[in-house]
């Protein structure tokens, strides 16, 4: 009996005896019988957890009754959301109870998936993994996870594959989502993740949203922006975007630009800041250095593409010369955004009296120059010194609950280790020491990033692939190629998930997974906040946590020494081991006991204090005060780097055959590939299927009516889908938009697998498409 069980049991006994006593003292009087009955309903218990969905990381409280989750509310103690949630959060517990939950392991026999005992499936996974390594070499096996991995699961995956099997074939879907943000941080600051935090919202006067539809995709933070504007009549929200969304309607100004031209706009803002002498010279002299990288860097469209960045030192004068061509007028010609608006934007950033926050997510990250545009927005904040102080904050948002906590901090990417890079000798030595493996086992060469990994699966270089907590057969760009790859002979696909999906459809083994609060775990959100959740529910049937599945397979491979933990407290053991990688004031994390008590803790956590503003010597214990107000210690020169990054066009632009831009994204009610949210009736009924959003004038010219079925055609595929006109957002003329959550209407069969050469993150936001009317009657 746990402490809380015992407590409630005692309470029930006490209540019962109190009721009896009351009745005996005053017979015949209805002495609060109803009240006493209601008081005795002590079965409901509320416990804290971060939300399962996006990277905002709202604190929720879940009510459990008779072993089932029955209700949700926002955690008023959480500084993230202060008691509020969004509709996905409020209905999140229903996603645990879809009627088609996977509760048994399945193995493909004679073409069909048939249920088998879990232990038998795990035996088969381990045996096939071992045989594939023996026959085809260690780099023929791979694991592909996600930013929904708990920190323990991601850590065990990295340790098993990098430390146990010696392959760097470890990737996560965060590559499709956050990789450009990471390379942006690393190139500009030498360290990943934001310097500021959500509290910046409560201090800022201006919010510039760079292609982020926050009202739909980060709704709770967007409410916080609106609240800030409500309290501060001078606060302004400016929406920079390629389409007009719910966020644009709520903003004070909506400024539209052509796809890819954000590069030119950001440089033009800097041009104007320099021309008007709005530069914070003191800050730039003391804390900024300049770098030039390669240009004309390609788009990664062929299998043999490779790229290595080289940073070259530059000077202030080089930078000013570089900016010369980016006059607001020149940027207007590329972007379609009036020069006067660019000047106005520059004046907001340049005004010393205003604190400015820039916010972005997929608009800047899913971009064939994603690293560059991240650098360029940092340039604006560095030129004006508006960084790392309350309210002055370039802030990269995330889309998954543990994109930061697991994939970025644990480092579940091919080139990463829990601390640092596989290519760095010291980092390998540290990992070998903590993992107690020979240092030679850790391969110093990164292998495949995500797109490359699935191309390798297609070619047969990778033969065994284990997918956990993600649904690549909906979310990969240029999907048809990779689905065909996964169905090829001589491949073996293991999929751990909670519901059947297009990815389990192509699996050889399906392992039923525990979902969210059916296991103990930790997530890390966008503001460096680590949050713990305990196991509140039993997983259904044979379902097992992803971390424990990996441990079971590791043991079958004879790698017990790598996973010495027992089932009851493995999370504590893993956390203790993992945090040894970050035992440094720049990244130290809170002990588990504190994480269990608090609504999350932001790292670096030093001497019992969390760090709200990194690099600021007033707040950050790792920053050296002798360097002045700031110490950008991520780079060896203790400076932040302004990068000279030009505008370069996207790989595919509309032409005669494919005259429109196609962009993809999310809607408020559905999360990612919809495998959870579509099982929630309220969310499903809000948006039952995907649609193509068409501009009203374009629709008129093409003769397309609302809800008419049309065909979208790109060079990679075609899709019949319902057109929506003036539905919830309005694309600009010459643009269409399709949400990607719908597994029956796979827009990713149309998208292009071009990527940013530095981050290897694909661009799901830009390719050329044609829209065709279907003859009336051809609709379903």
């Amino acid at each position: 009996m746990s402490g809380s069980d015992r407590r409630s049991f005692l309470k029930q006994v006490a209540l019962a005896s109190a009721a009896t006593a009351a009745a005996s003292v005053m017979p015949g009087v209805a002495f609060g019988e109803d009240v006493l009955r209601s008081l005795s309903q002590v079965g409901l218990s509320w416990r804290k957890t971060p939300c399962r969905f996006c990277g905002v990381g709202c604190g929720l409280q879940v009510a459990v009754e008779n072993g089932r989750a029955v209700a949700v509310r926002g955690d008023p103690e959480s500084p993230v959301n202060r008691g509020l949630a969004c509709v996905k959060g409020y209905y999140s517990v229903q996603a645990l109870y879809g009627g088609d939950r996977l509760t048994r392991a399945m193995v493909r026999r004679d073409g069909r998936l048939v249920p088998v005992p879990m232990q038998e499936a795990l035996d088969l996974v381990a045996r096939t993994l071992r045989e594939t390594v023996d026959t085809h070499g260690k780099d023929s096996v791979a694991i592909y996870g996600s930013g929904q991995w708990t920190i323990p699961a991601g850590y065990v995956a990295s340790k098993l594959f990098k430390g146990g099997l010696g392959t760097n074939n470890v990737e996560a879907n965060a590559r499709l989502c956050m990789a450009s943000a990471v390379t942006g941080f690393l190139t500009s600051f030498g360290m990943d993740e934001p310097m500021g935090c959500y509290e910046d919202i409560d201090h800022a006067d201006v919010f510039v949203l760079w292609g982020a539809n926050m009202a739909e995709n980060h709704p709770v933070l967007f409410s916080r922006l609106l609240e800030r504007r409500g309290r501060n009549p001078d606060a302004r929200i400016v929406d920079l975007a390629t389409r007009t969304t719910r966020t644009s309607y709520a903003a004070d100004r909506s400024l539209l630009f052509h796809p890819q031209s954000d590069l030119a706009v950001a440089n033009a803002i800097c041009h104007e800041i320099v021309a008007r002498d709005w530069v914070d010279r003191n800050f730039v002299e003391n804390h900024v250095a300049f770098r030039k990288g390669k240009t004309d860097i390609g788009y990664g469209l062929s299998d043999d593409f490779s790229f290595t960045e080289e940073a070259e030192e530059a000077t202030w004068d080089d930078y000013v010369r570089f900016l010369e061509e980016y006059t607001p007028e020149a940027a207007e010609r590329v972007s379609g955004m009036p020069a006067s608006d660019i000047r106005w934007l520059a004046s907001l950033y340049g005004d010393r009296a205003r604190r400015v926050m820039s916010l972005w997510c997929m608009g800047m990250n899913q971009h064939t120059r994603g690293t560059w545009i991240n650098n360029l927005v940092y340039n604006i904040h560095l030129l004006t010194g508006k960084i790392a102080t309350p309210g002055n904050s370039p802030f990269s948002l995330t889309g998954q609950p543990s994109a930061c906590g697991t994939t970025r901090e644990v480092g579940t990417f091919t080139h990463r280790l829990p601390h640092g890079l596989v290519s760095n000798e010291e980092d390998r030595a540290l990992a070998a020491r903590i993992w107690n493996v020979p240092v030679e086992r850790i391969d110093p060469r990164p292998s495949h990033h995500t797109v490359s990994m699935f191309r390798a699966l297609d070619r047969g270089d990778i033969r065994f692939l284990w997918v956990q907590v993600t649904n690549p057969m909906v979310s990969l760009p240029n999907l048809s190629r990779y689905r065909d790859a996964a169905r090829k002979d001589g491949r073996f696909l293991v999929v751990s998930d909670v519901y059947p999906t297009p990815t389990t459809d192509v699996a050889d083994v399906v392992l039923p997974a525990a979902l969210w609060i059916e296991q103990e775990g930790l997530f890390g959100n966008s503001e460096r906040r680590t949050q713990h959740f305990e196991q509140m529910l039993e997983p259904p049937g044979d379902a097992m946590s992803d971390a424990w599945q990996l441990i079971e397979v590791a043991r079958r491979l004879g790698l017990e020494a790598l996973v010495p933990w027992d089932r009851v407290d493995h999370v504590a053991g893993i956390w203790e081991e993992y945090t040894r990688f970050h035992d440094d004031p720049r990244h130290r994390m809170a002990p588990l006991a504190e994480l269990k008590e608090k609504p999350g803790v932001m790292w670096p956590y030093v001497d019992g204090r969390e760090t709200k503003w990194r690099y600021n010597t007033r707040y950050d214990p790792a920053a050296d005060a002798s360097r002045g107000d700031f110490d950008f210690y991520g780079h060896p020169d203790h400076r932040a780097w302004i990068w000279l990054r030009p505008y370069e066009p996207p790989p595919e632009t509309p032409d005669e055959d494919y005259p429109l831009w196609l962009s993809t994204g999310r809607v408020l009610e559905h999360w990612h590939t919809g495998s959870l949210t579509r099982r929630v009736p309220t969310l499903h009924r809000a948006v039952p299927n995907a649609y193509v959003e068409v501009n009203g004038e374009d629709a008129g010219a093409l003769g397309i009516r609302d809800r008419q079925r049309v065909r979208l055609v790109t060079r990679r595929g075609s899709l019949e889908i319902e057109a929506r006109i003036d539905y919830r957002a309005q694309p600009s003329r010459g643009h269409v938009f399709v949400p990607f959550f719908d597994e029956s209407l796979l827009v990713n069969e149309l998208t292009l697998d071009a990527y940013c050469p530095i981050s290897a993150q694909p661009d799901f936001k830009k390719c050329a498409v044609r829209i065709e009317r279907l003859a009336v009657g051809s609709a379903r």
């Binding site: 209601s38 209700a71 609106l226 009924r685």
Partner: protein
């Protein structure tokens, strides 16, 4: 103000004495003539301690405490007594519960939305103050949290009902909420067991005020839901004019009960009076 001026500088011992008495005088002066000092300025001797920071009202009032005193957004108390129009669509407890997945869940939007309503989220036009809405032949329920403006963040629309034009004709009125297909099939079946709803009208004694059986988060303004013609009949208060609801009604949810132990008086320790009794 000259009576507070320090004595002339007459050497160190005298100076110490002088400053000491000046401080004493000053302190007395502050007590006696505090308000004048604000305009002072010629004073040469300053109190060593820094001035007290002004007392700031809390930026964020405690919602559970302050919210209850917010007026009914629909207006002054007089409006509560207004006769309900007989043709108004009734709001019942059964329907209220059927629209919520669990007690406290944000209800989805049960009615049609025009495109501009979807775009502008101008829900508060009707739901801030309430009142009779001919379009639905119903009284608009009043939101208890009008300060939240991103309504669709928590309240999901129904796709089938989006883009339904605002009807002028009576016969189309029902379709505003009851469109064919408004209960369209699910993507997958759901095995959901909602917790039981708390009983209303829980009273300690016959005639005593019923307890508040729900949490207050985002529902701090009692009158929004419990008063006026849009209130669900079963929970409409008879006395909306008494503004201090929680003077008589206490929160008593299963969870608040779980946090409170039954009062047990601590045992008193024995003692004796050594000196006897008088």
């Amino acid at each position: 103000m000259t009576r507070h001026a320090p004595p002339p500088d007459t050497g160190t011992p005298t100076r110490v004495f002088g400053i000491g008495s000046a401080i004493a005088l000053m302190t007395a002066g502050v007590l006696a003539t505090g308000p004048w000092l604000n305009q002072g300025g010629e004073l040469e001797v300053r109190v060593a301690e820094p001035p007290l920071a002004p007392i700031m009202a809390p930026a964020r009032p405690i919602a559970a405490e302050a919210g209850v005193f917010r007026e009914h957004p629909g207006g002054p108390a007089g409006a509560f007594g207004a006769e309900r129009r007989p043709e108004a669509h009734p709001r019942t407890m059964a329907r209220y519960r059927s629209q919520r997945a669990y007690p406290g869940a944000p209800p989805p939007i049960p009615h049609g939305l025009t495109r501009s309503e979807m775009r502008d989220q101008n829900c508060k036009t009707c739901h801030e103050r309430g009142g009779f809405v001919p379009r639905f032949s119903a009284y608009a329920p009043v939101t208890p949290h009008p300060e939240m403006v991103s309504c669709l963040q928590c309240h999901a629309p129904n796709d089938v009902l989006v883009g339904v034009p605002s009807p002028q004709m009576n016969e189309l009125r029902c379709l505003q909420c009851h469109a064919p297909g408004a209960r369209q099939p699910l993507f997958a079946a759901l095995d959901w067991r909602a917790p039981s709803w708390p009983r209303t009208d829980q009273r300690a004694l016959p005639g005593s005020p019923p307890v508040i059986p729900h949490a207050l988060q985002f529902r701090e303004n009692c009158l929004a839901c419990h008063a006026g013609p849009s209130a669900v009949a079963e929970i409409r208060t008879t006395h909306p004019e008494r503004a201090s609801c929680r003077q008589c009604h206490v929160v008593s949810t299963a969870e608040s009960a779980a946090e409170v132990d039954v009062f047990v008086r601590p045992l008193a320790s024995d003692f004796s009076r050594a000196g006897g009794t008088p």
